[in-house]
């Protein structure tokens, strides 16, 4: 016999085990009995999730902006300090020039 004929012989369809269909139907019934979450609850869960994401993003933005403002203020203070120092130095130079004349 050729291999192809042997394969057809070896791979013939066989009956499913006794009671197979009943076991499938039992699984179908138990799936139907299982309570499913309604779309209403899914909508609420989605809203809560969205709120959490938006809230997190908002808080992050707020912290960023606060830090930006702090940085801006610090920069202004440094510039002011430099300006005051510059004026003091200029004033001192003028004083020195006046004495040496």
């Amino acid at each position: 016999m050729s291999l192809e004929t042997d394969l057809k012989d070896a791979l013939r369809r066989v009956p499913a085990p006794e009671g197979f269909a009943n076991r499938v139907l039992e699984r179908v019934r138990s799936e139907e009995r299982r309570p499913t979450r309604s779309p209403w609850w899914r909508a609420i869960a989605a809203t809560v999730l969205l709120a959490a994401i938006l809230g997190g993003w908002g808080a992050h933005e707020m912290i960023e902006r606060r830090q930006e403002r702090k940085g801006q203020r610090a920069r202004e203070q440094v510039l002011l300090a430099l300006r005051i120092t510059g004026e003091k130095v200029a004033h001192a130079q003028r004083g020195v020039r006046h004495i040496t004349r």
Binding site: M1, L3, E4, D6, L7, K8, D9, A10, L11, R12, R13, V14, P15, A16, P17, E18, F20, A21, R23, V24, L25, R27, V28, E31
Partner: protein, 178 residues
């Protein structure tokens, strides 16, 4: 199949889609042998074959509305069973079983040499998963390489090449054994 049988089959399908439990049971009864045999030949393990076949029919129940005709149903069942078998092997890895664990067939098929057929089935169960499912669909379901390609989503030349390699491997093993 006569036009009358096709019509009757489609009617059972429509009734199952309408929620008729008896009609769904009739669909399971009509196709359980095909689905179970594909899984059983693929794994060479009766328990695993039944587990997969049950999962396939449960999936069918959830997707009944998508089935258009009886021919579509047969295509869908073969496709889902094949993919489910391959996915299962990739998920859990090969499970080698001894001949004693394999379990006897409910009714042994009438073959010329049952022992040789059993040995051949063990050799098939040891092939790589793609070759295994292709050999099963080709010789159990008598499908052409083009049908198998559509079913498992591979080009026809790839199917032919897998089939060729599988037959070579089987011939080699049988040669070594004899």
């Amino acid at each position: 199949m006569s036009a009358l049988l096709v019509e009757e089959g489609d009617d059972v399908l429509r009734r199952a889609q309408g929620g008729d439990g008896d009609a769904f049971a009739a669909l399971v009864g009509d196709h359980e042998s095909m689905v179970f045999s594909i899984a059983w030949h693929f794994f060479g393990d009766r328990n695993r074959g039944e587990e997969i076949a049950q999962d396939v029919f449960l999936q069918l129940y959830r997707n009944l509305a998508k089935i258009e005709t009886r021919a579509h149903l047969v295509f869908w069942l073969r496709q889902v069973t094949s993919r489910r078998c391959i996915d299962e092997v990739r998920r859990t890895g090969p499970r080698r079983i001894s001949i004693d664990d394999a379990g006897d067939l409910p009714v042994a098929p009438a073959v010329s040499d049952p022992l040789a057929a059993r040995r051949l089935r063990e050799m098939i169960a040891a092939l790589p998963e793609r070759q295994r499912i292709i050999v099963t669909l080709r010789y159990q379901e008598d499908l052409d390489p083009s049908d198998i390609g559509r079913m498992i989503g591979l080009p026809v030349n790839t199917i032919k090449s897998h089939l060729h390699r599988a037959l070579l491997a089987l011939r080699k093993k049988m040669g070594v054994e004899s």
